[in-house]
Every structure is written in C-alpha cells, then in structure tokens.
Symmetry: C2
Subunit: 149 residues, 2 copies
C-alpha cells in the first residue's frame, strides 16, 4: 500500500516504521497485545477513529502478516483479529514508547503499569551490555556496520 | 503544532507518539543519537526529504525540548541541533524498532549492530520481570491501571 516509505534508508528502524509507523497503527497493536481487543467494533470504541482509516490499517496489518483475520460468531462478515508472532515481537516498541511517555508526558503519573502475569512483579525494559551488564548511560551505545550494510 | 493527535487516549505510548510519531521524526532522532549528525545539511543528505518537511520536524522537536538548537560556525543563520535528555531517552524506542526490523524486515541481515562504546560488547534490550528475571515469553506481560489512570 505504502511502497517504500523510507526509500533509500538501509535501516531496520526505518523498515519497521514502514510497517507500523502510520498514524494509529501502534495503538491498534497496543489494543491487540495489551487490552486483548479483537473486533472492528472494539477497536472503533477504543480509538474513536473513522471506519475507513481503521479498515485500511487492519487490512495493511493482515497483509503484512502482523495480524491474522478469521471469521467469528458464525457470521460471514464478522471477523476477529489476532496477533501473530510478528505482532507480539512489537511489544518492546510499545513498552519503550510507554516508558518514555511515562517519564516525559505523564504529569499525573503512569496511566498503566506492566506486570508479569504469573508472579505480579513489575516488568522492566533494560538496555544491557553483554560484557558488563546494565548500561546506565545510553550515550555509551554506538552503532557499527552489520552484515546487511 | 499537532495539538492532541490522539485526543481521548490516556496512554503514555499515545502521548509519546504525539511527539515523535510524525513521519521522519524518529529517523531524525536516529541520526542525532546514533550517527551524531547535527546540521540541517547533514540531515538533508541522510534523509533526502524536502526542506520544508525537515524544517517543520526540527522546529517541532526544538519546541518540545527534544533537541536544542544553537548557532555554530559564527554564521547568524547556521545552527546545529543537539540531543537533550528527552532525546537520549528515546534510544530504547529506536533500539526496539531496530530489533524488530532486524528480525522481520532485514533479509540481508542487520544493517547496523549496537555495541557498548567502552568495551565493544553487544548491546541488547531485554524485557525483564523484577521478580524472576528475563521474560522470555512476551505474552506474559499484562497491563494494570497505574496512578495516572
């Protein structure tokens, strides 16, 4: 649908944004992954967006294999949308955006906290060095060419 | 500039996307944080986008305190753009997008690898439970209401 939005960028972040960078897409995935919403009507109620926009976003995610669409409730035109592994793998992006928003744009405190379902303890996202453990200083991260350069 | 793009969403991920969700913005921040680009001309060369789009994105980031603009080279109209802590804090978002793109959209392998500058070892991003350590299964992450709900 979009072609290569970031033509000329040999960059995995740019490739990721080509698939999930459109307005509303990451919030749809938040709803799928964390609120366990499944149907067009549930997404509409949660997001309050126009039907044609929601429909285009869902179609795109299905086409890209991020969501799986399947009939439900015995109606030929009722579908539910389920996350694939490609969707679940986006959870770290949503956690990182949430942590940043909690710190910089949530004067009332975090609207949502993340917990480990089976033990109830806090879930945290860390940037770590395989050599020396947690990287407290993010300025210490450097990018070097990889095999796909 | 955008007002509240995601009006009605009491969600830190949505708040974050209001500041950095516009097309090109996260790639500008990638260039600032990881490629250490600083000037309008350097961003233009890296991204190949229209001057007016780049200018609008940079103005927005300066207004929001994500980038600091300051004169350089003794020219009244030459500026460089430097990351604030609010920018550096976005590195986990870029790392998470990159990891996802590496896995799902980089058939030639990762274009870029992240290393710890001082020791050279690989930098990794982990989702961990404060109770039991690494969370191998992201399906185990649940969202519960926080103080800002």
């Amino acid at each position: 649908m979009l072609g290569r939005t970031y033509e000329g960028q040999n960059c995995s972040a740019a490739r990721a944004l080509e698939l999930v960078g459109e307005r509303w897409t990451l919030l749809i995935l938040r709803d799928v992954l964390l609120r366990h919403l499944k149907t067009f009507g549930e997404f509409r109620a949660s997001l309050g967006i126009a039907r044609n926009v929601l429909s285009a976003r869902l179609d795109h995610l299905v086409r890209e294999g991020v969501l799986q669409r399947r009939p439900y409730g015995g109606h030929a035109d009722h579908y539910e949308y389920l996350p694939t592994d490609k969707a679940t793998d986006l959870l770290p992006v949503i956690l990182a955006l949430t942590a940043w928003g909690d710190r910089w744009a949530a004067p009332q405190g975090p609207p949502v906290l993340f917990r480990h379902g089976s033990c109830g303890a806090a879930v945290e996202q860390r940037v770590e060095c395989a050599g020396c453990g947690e990287l407290a200083d993010l300025h210490q991260v450097v990018a070097v060419p990889g095999p796909g350069r």
